[in-house]
Structure formats: structure tokens, C-alpha cells
Amino acid sequence: MKLLKDIFTDKYTVFAFRLLLGVVFVYASLDKIANPQDFARIIYNYKILPSFLINIVAITLPWIELICGLFLIGGIFIESSSLVIFFLLIIFIMGTSINVFIRGIDINCGCFTTSLEAKKLGGELVIREIILLLMSLQVFLFNRNFATLPGFYRKIFYRWLLK
């Protein structure tokens, strides 16, 4: 049990989860940024937002994802980024669960791509989102600023000072 805890709170685990989360969010945001109209359609299909909010969310959400993703990869404001991602994932999980388990309808998921052939919504998607949610929580709780860009530059700066 202690070993498990050590592995889970290890700085390398945090780092791995941080990178993975960052890449997933950056990747997920790019297609949405490129095709706002298609992404708006997907949000509309989820039928959880009032229609006047659909476009504005389609315009802003991908950029929030992109910034958080890049910050996680680069190790900038790690806690804040993982916190935002944590809340986004909670909203995503509620949205997909309402559609999968309550409505039971088959709609375009819109998580990684905006094409119509994209994966259909399913329980699998909810599980994936929950795993990402746990990762963001882990990063938030156990981050020790290992391998970050600011740390890297600070090191270079000190080295330069000591010369």
C-alpha cells in the first residue's frame, strides 16, 4: 500500500500525467479552434446549453483548453491549469453522462475531432473522461514543479550569474 502511494505521488508520475493531460488537451483543442462552426454544432447536439450560449462557448472553450494544455506541458501555473482542467472535465462528464445514461441517444462526441465520422458517444468516453479527471486531481495535489520551463530557465539564469 505504501509502495502504491509512493508511486502515485512520485514526481515522475506527476510529470507523466501532466504531460499526458497537456497533450490531450492541446490536441483536442486544435481541431475545435480550426472549425468553430462544427464544434458549435457538437455543443448544440449535447443539448445541455441554452442556444444563446452555444456559439460563445464554441469560440472560447478551445482556447482555454489550449492554454491550460500548453501550461501543463511547459510546467507553468501547474496547479491553476490542472484546476481549470478539473472543472472542465467535471462539466464534460456531466454532459456526456446526461446524454449517454439518461437520454441514451447516439450523438457525435466531439472530443478529439469535429468530423461526423468521429467516435460516437458512449460509456467508454465517460470512463476516459473520469481517468483524465483523476489525473488532473493527482497533478493538482502532488505537483512538485519537477521539469518545468520556468525551472529550466531559472537554472540557466543562475549558471550564467555564477560564471
Partner: protein
């Protein structure tokens, strides 16, 4: 970091990040060629003779029919019903006599149906109902291909089954 950052500090940075992201998004949208309106028009609307159509239904689109009109065409046996949903959904149940032409795999299944479609006096496309728009996309495509008398039954599978009308399973 020597000191553990306080939660309010983390939270305020998070809020700033969300605001900055939103601002960048709005700015990008304003100057992007692919930009969309900040407030769009979504949802169903009702056109003349109380047919409910999706928001992107245009006046020049194939005629939309109500459940009553669909039933009339069904009883006349001169109309062909085209199911635009996925194959799996079609196998689970469809309007009796309907043919399957999933919009997502149009190219694959369309050639098999050319004779049946050209012999029909009336083509009625339907999908799930409840704001589903595959039927509209398919009807537009068929009309573009030159078929006459293409119609869309937006009520779809949902209205049909709720009314207890004839259905069948399998292929």
C-alpha cells in the same frame, strides 16, 4: 517553490487564465475567416402547416412532411422510406419497408439503391427525429442527384414509434 502556494492564489490565476483564454478566443474569432456569430441561431422552428424543422432548414430545401402526411404516403405504398441512421440502428428497428441508406456511408450503399429510388413515386427520408438532421442532408443530396419528389419526415423514428405505427427489425 519554497512556500506552498495558497489556494486563493491558485484560484485567481485559474480565473485569469479562463478570462485570457476567452478573450483570445473572441479576438481570434473576430479576425478569423472561419469566425462565427457570438450568438447563433439554434433549435427547431415551426414553419407553415405546423411542421417543425431544424434551424438550418432552408425554404428551397426538400419539402418537410408531418407524421400525418408520412402515414398517408406509407399507406399509398407508392413512397419509399429511406432510413438515414446507422446500419446498427436500422437493424434494431425501422419503419416497415424502409430501405437503409446511412448518411455516414452514403457512397457505399447508394449504388445498391439507385433502381429502387428511381422507381419510387415519392422518396421520404427520415432519421431519429428530435432535431436530427441526417435526413435533411440526405434529402438534399438526393434532390441534387436529380430525384423528384424527395421529402423529409423530421418527426422520424421517434414520432413513428410513439404513434405505434408499423415497424420491422433486421435487414
Amino acid at each position: 517553490m519554497n512556500q506552498k502556494t495558497s489556494f486563493s492564489n491558485i484560484l485567481s490565476k485559474a480565473i485569469i487564465m479562463v478570462c485570457a483564454g476567452s478573450l483570445i478566443g473572441i479576438l481570434n474569432n473576430t479576425f478569423s475567416q472561419k469566425g462565427i456569430k457570438l450568438v447563433g441561431t439554434w433549435g427547431n422552428r415551426t414553419i407553415s402547416d405546423s411542421v417543425v424543422v431544424p434551424h438550418n432548414y432552408e425554404p428551397e430545401d426538400p419539402e418537410a412532411v408531418t407524421l400525418g402526411q408520412a402515414v398517408k404516403s406509407f399507406e399509398s405504398q407508392e413512397a419509399i422510406f429511406v432510413d438515414c441512421r446507422l446500419k446498427e440502428d436500422y437493424h434494431l428497428g425501422h419503419i416497415s419497408g424502409a430501405v437503409s441508406l446511412p448518411w455516414e456511408e452514403f457512397e457505399e450503399y447508394y449504388p445498391e439503391l439507385t433502381t429502387a429510388l428511381s422507381e419510387a413515386k415519392e422518396i421520404i427520408a427520415y432519421c431519429d427525429g428530435d432535431e436530427c438532421e441526417l435526413s435533411l442532408l440526405l434529402a438534399r443530396e438526393l434532390a441534387d442527384l436529380g430525384y423528384k419528389n424527395v421529402k423529409v419526415f423530421f418527426g422520424g423514428w421517434l414520432e413513428w414509434t410513439e404513434a405505434g405505427l408499423p415497424v420491422e427489425k433486421g435487414s
